[in-house]
């Protein structure tokens, strides 16, 4: 007879020596390994950056990563990081919430009703190619330089991906599921609530992630051109002062906040739609 281990799998005649001690340990090793690779890759990148900055020898063109880190620490101590992050995050939160609150119901209406779709879709297709950024000059006229402009621009950038993905989500619900619910005698409202909504949710969340990405980019541009505060404004402000380390510190913060917001949405995807096949990993 063949030797078998506790899981019933056949084992080499030589003896049962599993490769890893246990599956759990294997997973822990793997994640430590991943962290190690990440740290090593970033360390190599920072060292190269440092060497290039030494070689260029001009701290205005390219300061060393150490100078940039010092600038970040200083700006944090002075509270300037805090005020700009709060300004940008407030706009992000307001406009993203508005885009979801208006975009998702509109997408549902368009997905469920042919009439609504036929009326609204042409307008969306007319406006969509005009990117949020192209609205900045007109926006500055109408709204002036201030809080409203970046919020409105980000809303505009986030709105279309959310509407379009909601429509796609509602429309791609397997008609067999709807029929199954109907032959069980379930009414229309409950079908929308318990069949269409969960079936469309993965697409809606992918749309939210796309919208957040596009909106964030548009908002940073709007802040850079026409706002008195925020991360985009700070980047440009310090460029004019030729304080490049501070520019880099704020560029880093823009990346960090964008990344964290995407992580938050990914976490929502996992929690709300654990069954989904498409999390839009390769957005």
């Amino acid at each position: 007879m063949t030797a078998r281990d506790e899981n019933g799998a056949a084992v080499a005649p030589g003896g049962a020596t599993p490769y890893w001690p246990t599956p759990l340990a294997a997973r822990i090793y793997a994640s430590i390994g991943g962290l190690f690779v990440y740290v090593r890759a970033m360390a190599v990148f920072l060292v190269i950056w440092h060497l290039v900055s030494l070689w260029i020898g001009n701290p205005i063109l390219l300061p060393s990563p150490i100078a940039a880190a010092e600038a970040l620490v200083d700006l944090t101590r002075q509270g300037e990081v805090f005020s700009n992050v709060v300004a940008s995050l407030t706009r992000l939160g307001t406009s993203f919430a508005l885009a979801i609150l208006l975009g998702v119901p509109l997408g549902f209406a368009m997905g469920l009703s042919r009439n609504v779709f036929a009326m609204v879709d042409p307008l969306i297709e007319l406006l969509r190619p005009i990117s949020g950024i192209a609205w900045i000059p007109l926006g500055m006229f109408i709204l002036g330089v201030g809080e409203a402009l970046p919020t409105a621009i980000m809303f505009y950038g986030a709105f279309f991906p959310i509407v379009i993905n909601t429509v796609v989500g509602v429309r791609s619900v397997n008609p067999g599921l709807v029929q199954a619910a109907r032959v069980l005698g379930v009414g229309r409202a409950h079908i929308v609530r318990h069949v269409i909504w969960p079936a469309a949710l993965p697409n809606i969340l992918v749309g939210a992630r796309l919208g957040a990405g596009a909106g964030w980019m548009a908002m940073v541009a709007a802040e850079l051109i026409g706002a008195p505060s925020g991360l985009g404004f700070a980047v440009e402000w310090y460029r004019e002062l030729l304080m490049t380390p501070s520019v880099l510190a704020f560029v880093f913060l823009i990346g960090l906040l964008g990344y964290l917001f995407d992580r938050l949405l990914r976490w929502l995807q996992r929690v709300l739609t654990p069954w989904a096949q498409t999390q839009g990993g390769a957005l």
Binding site: M42, M217, L224, E236
Partner: protein, 256 residues
């Protein structure tokens, strides 16, 4: 009844135009709010004088320059990352770290490094286009059915030939997805870059559609000019999108 159904698509755009007209008629003359007819007239002037097409072409040129450079880089790097695990593992953290940084945030750096001309704008465009391109290249190469590569190997085909005859066509649909996304963000970024260069460098002679919008905004205070530019931006975005789709349809006959 039938007529009503056919008119549905025009209801909202028409309503929008009427509202705009009414609002403009209500507004004080000092607001310089144009009526739709003004925009049409301005549009005609700008097209007839060749200013608008020239500005759009200038911007498009920068987009193509930045896109071509970064697409070539992303193609090579992405294929290497997908095909060789060590390369992928080590470069992935760096790419993922830079991806969330909005391209426009780098504009101040680009101005520092390259000045306010084409190179700075092309840098921003290239940076913006790089990420959709590389992510989709990696995804495309990884999603190729390994059975096809095995089949080619059993036919005695060498590695480089497999790259050309199996990997490239296998990844092509994803490459087109990447190109469409990349050109989309590239076109958006060029406008932001030109606008910001105009705004911050005090209307330098960099040209392009974003610059033109800025001049209308800051100097001639011409709202209908701005709106014409916006429509131009939208039309070009649409043309880019449809162009890539047409190319895709033509180059991927096996998916029709």
């Amino acid at each position: 009844m039938n007529l009503a159904l056919r008119l549905r698509p025009f209801v909202l755009p028409a309503l929008l135009l009427i509202l705009w007209q009414l609002a403009a008629m209500q507004a004080a003359p000092a607001d310089r709010m144009p009526v739709p007819a003004d925009v049409l007239a301005t549009g005609w002037t700008l097209i007839a004088s060749g200013e608008l097409p020239l500005a759009l072409l200038q911007s498009l040129q920068r987009v193509m320059l930045g896109f071509a450079t970064s697409a070539a880089l992303a193609l090579v790097l992405g294929t290497a990352m997908a095909a060789y695990r060590p390369v992928g593992r080590n470069l992935d953290p760096i790419i993922e770290s830079f991806r969330p940084i909005a391209p426009i945030a780098l504009l101040p750096l680009a101005i520092l490094w390259f000045g306010t001309g084409t190179p700075a704008a092309a840098f921003i465009v290239g940076y913006a286009a790089f990420f959709p391109m590389i992510v989709n290249t990696i995804h495309g190469v990884r999603s190729i059915d390994p059975g096809l590569i095995r089949a080619a190997r059993t036919l005695g085909v060498g590695r480089l030939t497999i790259l050309r005859t199996v990997v490239l066509p296998g990844a092509l649909p994803n490459l087109f997805v990447g190109a469409r996304l990349a050109l989309g963000v590239a076109w958006t970024s060029i406008i932001a870059a030109e606008l910001a260069v105009g705004a911050k460098a005090g209307g330098g002679a960099s040209g392009g559609i974003g610059q033109m919008m800025f001049v209308f905004y800051a100097y001639s205070v011409d709202l209908s000019g701005i709106i014409v530019c916006m429509i131009g931006v939208g039309v070009v975005a649409l043309l880019i999108d449809r162009g890539v789709r047409a190319l895709e349809y033509w180059m991927i006959p096996w998916k029709r």
